[in-house]
């Protein structure tokens, strides 16, 4: 016990470099998500909150956030544990997200821009299956 405490004390006091790379966690941004009326079946790609990483459009990565992907409305929902609220993330600020450990593997979704002349352009998330080599 004493050994562990001493080792913890010495390593926390010295040898740690606080850098502008590690000191700041990027912020997620969105609006309150209010679930719609009950439906048959689930609108979610993953019914359970899943530990995920989010790639922001500024190139930064937000790691280990509980996410659900509502495939029906094409929105990413974040469960903000500190406030106990569900937040619909602003699509324009997200380039993609990674659901970790979805059925034992990481599933990647990338945002694409869908041009549409009549209904107006939209942003959609598509699941990435292949990465072209070379």
């Amino acid at each position: 016990m004493i050994f562990a405490l001493l080792i913890l004390l010495q390593t926390s006091g010295y040898g740690q470099i606080t850098t502008s790379d590690t000191a700041f966690q990027p912020r997620l941004c969105g609006i309150l998500y209010v679930p719609g009326p009950k439906t048959d079946g689930s609108p979610f790609y993953n019914d359970e909150w899943m530990n995920s990483d989010i790639l922001l459009s500024n190139g930064e990565m937000v790691t280990n956030k509980p996410l659900k992907y509502n495939a029906y409305i094409g929105e990413v929902i974040w469960f903000c544990q500190e406030k106990s609220v569900q937040i619909k993330l602003e699509k324009h600020f997200i380039d993609g997200f990674y659901l970790k450990q979805f059925q034992g593997k990481t599933v990647c979704f990338k945002r694409i821009h869908v041009p549409a002349s009549l209904t107006g352009d939209t942003l959609e998330f598509l699941q990435k299956h292949y990465t072209k080599a070379g």
Binding site: F3, Y14, I17, L32, C80
Partner: protein, 582 residues
């Protein structure tokens, strides 16, 4: 028996603790900065050229920590003359400082450091004395005071030449004629295969019988703890409060209670740039009252406003942003001494500067655009629910009228002489119970009373977000953002114990000296340059020769060629030699 067991256990614990401390100390990467300047003596109105090398304090290899370096030029009264920050690329930065025409004659100190080095005290900062003579000060009385101080301790290092084994300078001749081409060969040989030396070369008129600046190799030797003359404190002063600027610059500061002077924790400190979009970062103050923000290039050259969210005046708080250029240690000059040779040298320099200025022949360095990074502003919404431009409609007297006529989802009420706004919530289809987040010119403000008087004449645009917004953990019951035509935020106090700041933009320079990058001034112009060559960016491979060419001027005398640099293996490279122009 019991006693000896206790001793063994205690010794074991102590041994582990001490070894851990030693290990942690080894892991502690501090930095050093060395500056190579083109000269040591200047005339006001000239540019001081320099190159900064940022190295790991332990390995002496180019540092991978800081990407920004700070330079302060101060006088003997410890007043800053110039404060600049420079973007470092591959652990070097170079640039120039304009010495103002009005600068009085005297000794000045150039101080160079990184934000990370603040953890190790100001004694770890690089310092160098330079002498600046005012262009109109012909009597130079300041030299008399220098003589009195220095005459007792003649600097034996003055006039010395220096070279270490890693680099040699070979000139095609020793004596040159006026305006003759000089060809130098630098031969780099450190014994470490596959290493590259990053060098800077200066060639300038030799200052007789005076202070000779220490070389990069001297600097390393002096800072080596084993030499016994280290002034470099590797241990942090108190913890590691200053964040290393590895990626972006940072802004740190503290919140304190004005009445008690005590630090205040758990305050939501916010920062916004005055802009045509709402932008915001927040941080909660820690137990020591400290807060910090990453400052990417978006903030460069912008007016910034710090505040405390939900601030009540009775809280009596003050925001104290860090002054990144602050120096608390005193500058005590002591390297220059004034003798007749020095006086004559300065007078000649004053004449030379006057001629060069008349014919616009002064060397300058071209400022380059900063290295481009993806720097997005920290927006809290992408698209407002409503966006209006009051100029598109009939003129309205104030914000209350604008909301009534043009903003159907905003209700402004008056209660007890104060105005407040309530938005309708488009998500829950009801009205918010709290006032929305209010912004003026991109900056959060405390209450509506501060902007209620603004009408169509003053307002350019109004954004309304009718949704319950979250930015990180911060909740905003909608947003009402007003953008004024004439930066009203400069005149209106946001009311959040606000502090206005202006971040100095980083600078980055080319290594070409203007107006004659090729070094040859046309024959019809009076060429009396004292600084014949300055190149802060030469890369020399192991066992390879680097050729340098430049032209002498019409100014006869001795010139000092100085090469400084660092190898990728962490070795200092220093060499000096002299040539004569007859």
């Amino acid at each position: 028996m019991k006693h000896s067991a206790k001793v063994i256990i205690f010794s074991g614990i102590l041994a582990i603790f001490l070894s851990g401390m030693a290990m942690a100390q080894t892991d502690l990467h501090s930095e050093k900065v060395f500056a190579h300047t083109d000269r040591e003596v200047y005339v006001s109105g000239e540019l001081l050229f320099f190159k900064l090398y940022i190295v790991d304090a332990v390995t002496h290899q180019p540092s991978t920590i800081s990407k920004t370096a700070y330079v302060v030029l101060r006088n003997t009264s410890n007043r800053s003359i110039t404060e600049m920050s420079f973007q470092a690329e591959h652990s070097v930065a170079y640039g120039s400082i304009l010495l103002p025409d009005t600068l009085s004659s005297g000794v000045y100190q150039l101080v160079a450091f990184t934000h990370w080095m603040r953890n190790f005290g100001e004694s770890s900062f690089f310092t160098k004395e330079i002498f600046v003579a005012n262009a109109l000060d012909r009597d130079l009385p300041v030299l008399n005071s220098l003589t009195e101080r220095k005459i007792l301790e003649q600097d034996s290092s003055a006039n010395k030449l220096y070279h270490n084994d890693f680099i040699t300078i070979n000139c095609d001749k020793i004596n040159y004629g006026q305006r003759e081409k000089v060809m130098l060969k630098l031969h780099y040989n450190s014994g470490d295969a596959d290493t590259v030396a990053n060098l800077s070369v200066s060639v300038s008129a030799f200052v007789p019988d005076n202070y000779s600046d220490s070389t990069f190799a001297d600097f390393f030797a002096a800072a080596n703890p084993s030499s016994g003359k280290s002034n470099f404190n590797r241990r942090p002063t108190v913890g590691l409060p200053y964040i290393a600027e590895t990626k972006t610059e940072v802004l740190q500061g503290k919140i304190k209670n004005i009445a008690t002077g005590e630090p205040v924790k758990s305050c939501c400190v916010i920062i916004s740039a005055v802009d045509s979009m709402v932008n915001l970062q927040y941080d909660y103050s820690r137990s020591d009252g400290s807060f910090c923000f990453p400052m990417n290039d978006y903030y460069n050259d912008k007016e910034l406003v710090l505040g405390i969210r939900d601030y009540q005046e009775e809280e009596n708080l003050q925001i104290l942003p860090e002054n990144k250029f602050e120096l608390t240690s005193a500058f005590i000059p002591g390297k220059f001494y004034g003798n007749e040779h020095f006086k004559q040298y300065i007078k000649r320099s004053q004449d030379v500067v006057r001629i060069c200025k008349t014919y616009n022949l002064q060397a300058t360095a071209q400022e380059l655009p900063l290295l481009k990074k993806k720097n997005f502003p920290p927006e809290i919404y992408f698209k407002p629910t409503i966006k209006i431009f009051p100029d598109d409609y009939q003129a309205l007297n104030d914000l209350s009228e604008i909301s009534k006529e043009l903003l159907r989802t905003v209700k402004i009420h008056r209660q007890n002489e104060s105005y407040f706004a309530i938005l309708s919530d488009a998500v829950r289809h009801e009205s918010f119970s709290e006032q929305p987040a209010l912004f003026l010119d991109g900056v959060m403000i405390k209450d509506l009373d501060r902007i209620i008087h603004l009408g169509s004449k003053e307002i350019q645009r109004v954004d309304v977000v009718n949704e319950p917004l979250y930015y990180g953990q911060e909740y905003f019951p909608g947003v009402l953002a007003v953008f004024s035509k004439g930066r009203m935020i400069d005149k209106i106090d946001p009311g959040l114990a606000s502090v206005h700041l202006h971040l100095q933009p980083n600078t980055r320079f080319s290594n070409d000296l203007m107006p004659f990058p090729e070094g040859k001034i046309p024959d019809n112009l009076p060429d009396f340059r004292q600084m014949l060559y300055w190149n802060p960016s030469i890369n020399s491979k192991e066992n390879q020769e680097t050729n340098i060419e430049f032209y002498t001027s019409r100014l006869t005398g001795i010139y000092m060629i100085k090469v400084e640099g660092i190898t990728t293996g962490g070795k200092a490279v220093s060499a000096t030699t002299k040539i004569t122009v007859e």
